[in-house]
């Protein structure tokens, strides 16, 4: 904790440009004291297609502003023109890295408003696909955190195993990145023959992978010296700035929808999310590493406890004429980045009235990132962004 004091982002702005009435910094570029530096949208250190407008003095950032909108496709408008079943292929493209959570939140919202009870088998299969999706994200993210400090080796290893998990997805759903396995009413299919054994075989690879990245990343003195104390989020900010998921758990506050609002069959599983109090990049990476181990364990539990057979889909009305009575709901689940929710309004017609998706990146990248980057080094921008798991498409949709 003592080290974190170096990076408390305190409000002492005596060295920094003054703010005007609107809270904008007054930066006089012709004073030769500051340089305006755009990181992105074409920049290899940015996660996805967004940009940061940095004002730097030397190597230090004095002001940062996030610019989003490069990926805006008008989803919320487009979904208003789609039948409920047509919403599925469109909505899964909301967040590329982890599309399954989109499938789940929208299916869940439709089921909730349309009063459909999902069969038990389908719930287990949904859980399996959600956890596998989380696994493939974490396999990129945990070593990717070191990749932001230019240690790409772990990322390469992780990506290989991730590809194997994507193969499993392909086996299960037919799709490599976009699966559309979870549909309103249930899931699309049962497990293929021998799928369980093959998946368990792949999970063993991850068991071997964890000690490797421990050696490479977590015991690495340079990584530790850079990540400790970087991007410090105090406990008080968690509610104020809307910090979710691993980022909040890194700051000592338990935020996990699976535990607090158990959905599907998560209440039947035995797991305890990892919480640590340091609040810096290193702590968040540690939380994700623990999540990775936990996810592997959860998949094993799911495969173990899952019934062999059962209905996988509830009876739904003819999807082409499906009208859902007027109502509104907020359906949420835990993505790898944190709480992932969808506000869904219907008006009794064949189309949704209004869909609003809210991912954790919205608050992470907009208000929080701007604040965390002040006082940081240019070299640290990528690390802080990745540690917050910023996913631009879910900000602008």
């Amino acid at each position: 904790m003592a080290k974190s004091k170096l990076f408390t982002m305190n409000e002492d702005r005596s060295l920094y440009p003054e703010l005007d009435d609107n809270g904008k910094p007054i930066v006089d570029l012709s004073s030769h004291k500051y340089v305006k530096l755009w990181q992105g949208p074409q920049h290899p250190g940015i996660t996805g297609n967004m940009s940061l407008e940095l004002t730097v003095s030397g190597d230090e950032i004095v002001e940062s502003k996030t610019h989003v909108g490069y990926l805006h496709r008008g989803f919320e408008k487009l979904l208003e023109r789609r039948l409920f079943v047509q919403c599925m292929p469109t909505s899964i493209r909301l967040c590329v890295a982890e599309p399954d959570t989109n499938e789940y939140v929208i299916s869940n919202a439709i089921e909730e408003l349309g009063n459909i009870e999902v069969p038990e088998m389908a719930q287990w299969l949904r859980m399996l696909s959600l956890e596998m999706a989380r696994l493939q994200v974490l396999l990129r993210q945990v070593p990717g955190q070191a990749g932001t400090f230019a240690l790409g080796l772990g990322y390469q290893w992780g990506s290989y195993i991730r590809d194997l998990i994507l193969d499993s997805f392909e086996e299960l759903t037919g799709g490599r990145v976009y699966h559309m396995y979870i549909i309103p009413g249930g899931v699309r299919g049962l497990l293929p023959d021998g799928f369980k054994a093959r998946l368990l075989e792949k999970l063993k690879l991850i068991d071997e992978f964890i000690p490797k990245i421990d050696k490479l990343i977590f015991n690495n003195v340079v990584f530790e010296s850079r990540a400790r104390g970087l991007g410090y989020i105090p406990k008080e900010w968690v509610d104020e700035y809307g910090v979710y998921g691993p980022a909040a758990r890194g700051s000592g506050i338990m935020r996990d929808v699976r535990k607090t609002n158990p959905y599907l069959k998560y209440d039947q599983l035995d797991f305890e999310p990892f919480v640590t109090t340091e609040g810096d990049v290193y702590a968040r990476t540690e939380v994700r590493r623990a999540d990775l181990i936990m996810t592997v364990d959860l998949i094993r539990q799911i495969l173990d406890k899952m019934p062999e057979k059962g209905d996988i889909k509830a009876e739904t009305p003819n999807v082409l004429h499906w009208k859902i009575p007027k109502g509104e709901t907020y359906s949420k689940c835990e993505a790898s980045r944190g709480e992932y929710g969808m506000y869904f309004v219907t008006d009794g017609s064949k189309f949704p009235r209004r869909v609003n998706l809210k991912g954790p990146s919205y608050t992470h990248a907009n208000a929080l990132l701007d604040k965390l980057l002040i006082n940081a080094n240019i070299s640290d921008t990528a690390a802080i962004m990745v540690s917050l798991a910023t996913c631009p498409p879910e900000i602008e949709r």
Partner: protein
């Protein structure tokens, strides 16, 4: 009226401003004129013969891809540089700056805001340069054919050498697409950059139709 509009969208750092030089004199700076060339681009000469064939081979075997993920297709770029698909063995590498890249992979849908950046990045690349359109979104709008913020046809805004169909294309499809691009280049057909220069007015008219705040020079290099 036209002037008003232009000023409204001009970024503050691009405005005409007065700067005090180190020796105390005051200089007026007009970034749009000072920092960018206002000349029209000229097409480069396409040569023929064995030397050019050899150079074409070299261009094909050393494709430097600009690392600009414009859409969701960019999720399949990391698998390409990692063990499973390893595109380095085919001489395809990622570069961080447009000045050093030849291939621009438009990975999926382009929103209007990104299109503006993509045009700038494209124009900064040295010729001969190639554009690969990834996914059905670049071909006909794909999933977002009725969206108010994504373009439908990429080839109306930038000259496209190769399309890779799919939503999204698998890494294998990408590799196959790159192989197709190599064949084009080796056959001496990879001169779409000239086409862009020759039809500049048409391309610019299309681009300006949707990019309302055109606060950049007409051709920036």
């Amino acid at each position: 009226m036209e002037e008003d509009k232009k000023d409204k969208f001009l970024a503050p750092e691009n405005e005409i401003r007065q700067v005090t030089a180190p020796d105390g004199s005051i200089i007026e700076v007009n970034p749009l004129e000072d920092y960018f060339s206002q000349d029209r681009p000229k097409p480069y000469k396409v040569r023929k013969g064995p030397v050019e064939d050899f150079l074409n081979w070299a261009r094909a075997e050393s494709l430097w891809v600009l690392g600009f993920g414009t859409g969701c297709g960019s999720i399949e770029i990391p698998p390409l540089v990692t063990p499973r698909f390893d595109m380095y063995r085919f001489g395809i590498q990622m570069r961080a700056t447009p000045r050093q890249s030849n291939v621009f992979v438009i990975s999926g849908y382009l929103s209007v805001k990104t299109l503006k950046r993509a045009i700038r990045a494209y124009e900064q690349m040295p010729s001969p340069k190639y554009v690969v359109g990834l996914g059905s979104c670049t071909i006909n709008g794909g999933m977002y054919y009725d969206s108010y913020n994504t373009i439908n046809r990429l080839d109306h805004y930038l000259p496209v050498d190769a399309y890779i169909a799919g939503c999204m294309p698998r890494p294998e499809a990408l590799l196959a697409g790159f192989e197709g691009l190599k064949k084009l280049i080796k056959a001496g057909k990879g001169h779409k950059a000239n086409e862009y220069v020759e039809n500049l007015d048409w391309y610019k008219a299309n681009q300006k139709k949707i990019i309302k705040d055109w606060n950049m020079p007409d051709y920036n290099w």
